[in-house]
């Protein structure tokens, strides 16, 4: 756990620019799902990826800000219950920070597993627990409806964070250069 909550300039910049990316993906790169009114959001793959690279603070902030801003742009006002849940999901993804070897250029079976376990736990807490409870508390929505919605969101977000996130991490690991590995070929 050491140092994963440390806030550096890089954390803040990653949160700010990450939120812009999140909002862009959230608004323009979503896939319609079979259930009307819900989308499969590729943005959560990005949140997972940033979580592993920059930690819980960055990923939590970026999901919160990104979701709030794209809601505000599309609907005029953020849907707080889901915005908060997004923030929590991102925050928990960030617990994978410093638990994988991706910065050393390795993202193998063990790392994939670590990331995905954490990611699934994050999505479960955010969408099966927090979002429905907030919906009930804030909007007094019927319990069975919000839990059904929550389960749907959990399934689709866990799949996206799993697939897109893992793909991005694999691609990133490939760009990492090892110590003293670069020399000119003549």
């Amino acid at each position: 756990m050491k140092g994963i909550f440390k806030v550096t300039t890089r954390t803040i910049v990653a949160a700010g620019l990450g939120a812009a990316l999140f909002a862009l993906l959230f608004m323009f790169v979503k896939i319609p799902s079979p259930v009307p009114g819900t989308y499969i959001q590729t943005a959560y793959g990005l949140a997972g990826f940033f979580g592993v690279l920059f930690g819980p603070i960055a990923a939590g902030l970026l999901s919160f800000i990104g979701h709030a801003i794209s809601d505000a742009v599309q609907y005029g006002s953020p849907w707080w219950s889901w915005v908060i849940s997004s923030g929590i999901a991102g925050f928990i993804y960030g617990f994978a920070f410093k638990r994988t070897r991706v910065e050393e250029g390795i993202f193998g079976g063990k790392d994939i597993l670590t990331y995905n376990i954490i990611q699934v736990i994050g999505n479960a807490i955010a969408w099966i627990l927090v979002a429905p409870v907030l919906d009930i508390v804030i909007y007094a929505e019927p319990a069975n409806k919000v839990f059904a919605q929550g389960l749907m969101a959990f399934a689709s977000n866990a799949v996206v964070a799993g697939v897109v996130g893992t793909l991005l991490l694999l691609a990133y690991a490939a760009t990492r250069t090892k110590k003293g590995s670069l020399s000119k070929k003549s």
Partner: protein, 277 residues
Amino acid sequence: MKTKLFSYNYENTPIHNLSGLIKFICFLLLTFATMYTYDIRVILGMLVFSVIILRISRIRFSQIKVMLIYVLIFIFINAIFTFFFSPEHGVTLYHTRHQIAPLWGNKALTQEQLLYQVTLAFKYLSVVPLGIIFLLTTNPSEFASSVSGVGVPYKASFAVSLTLRYFPDILRVYNDISQAQQARGLEMSVKAKMKERVKNSLMIIIPLIFSTLERIEVVTNAMDLRGFGKEKRRTWYCVQKLRPADYIALAVSIVVTLIVAAVAYFINHGRYFNPFI
């Protein structure tokens, strides 16, 4: 191409001239008041109040048309969902049952459900103008200082400012990458199959994300070189001094919030307005 996130345009209205911090506090107060109450009379009152503010701030219908359509679609789908899952939810909330018409099985349409769903729909609808007013009348430069003004740590607030600053850049890069890839033979038009299109859009997202990672390095360097984060606090270039109008606005919002609370406490004895008992 739309580049800025919000189409903020300065106009000389009392609302535009308020300080961003005050507007943000009022926005939060009124939003929470609206979210708390389940009294259709209060909610309609809030709606009328916010529409009047909308008019005062000279926001034109054309500016908010698209948002409104989105919201209405959302509310409509949500209503159908709610009814489909819990046609008896109103009955459990209000503890009475006034049937209007029988439906399938032992389910029926009740007055309670109708009141619940209408209240819910207006509740959703009435927070929208509040958000729109805040967004369209506040200079984006003031966002970060306003957020920080209500007690959010300044570093987190600055992240908001960075998002607003770099969104247009990232959107432009997104378009450029997409065009550059098409010029090298990537098919993006509707001619391509669904699976191809998903794969191809990954070919754009990946460079977009990686170029953003690089941008993060540059911006971090630039900010470090100019001393970001060295003190426990920071001052802001874009804050407005509070003027009498700001105190009036704040007072009005507090009064409105108190009225909402009073109605709940003294008249309804709780969140819900229950005309059935």
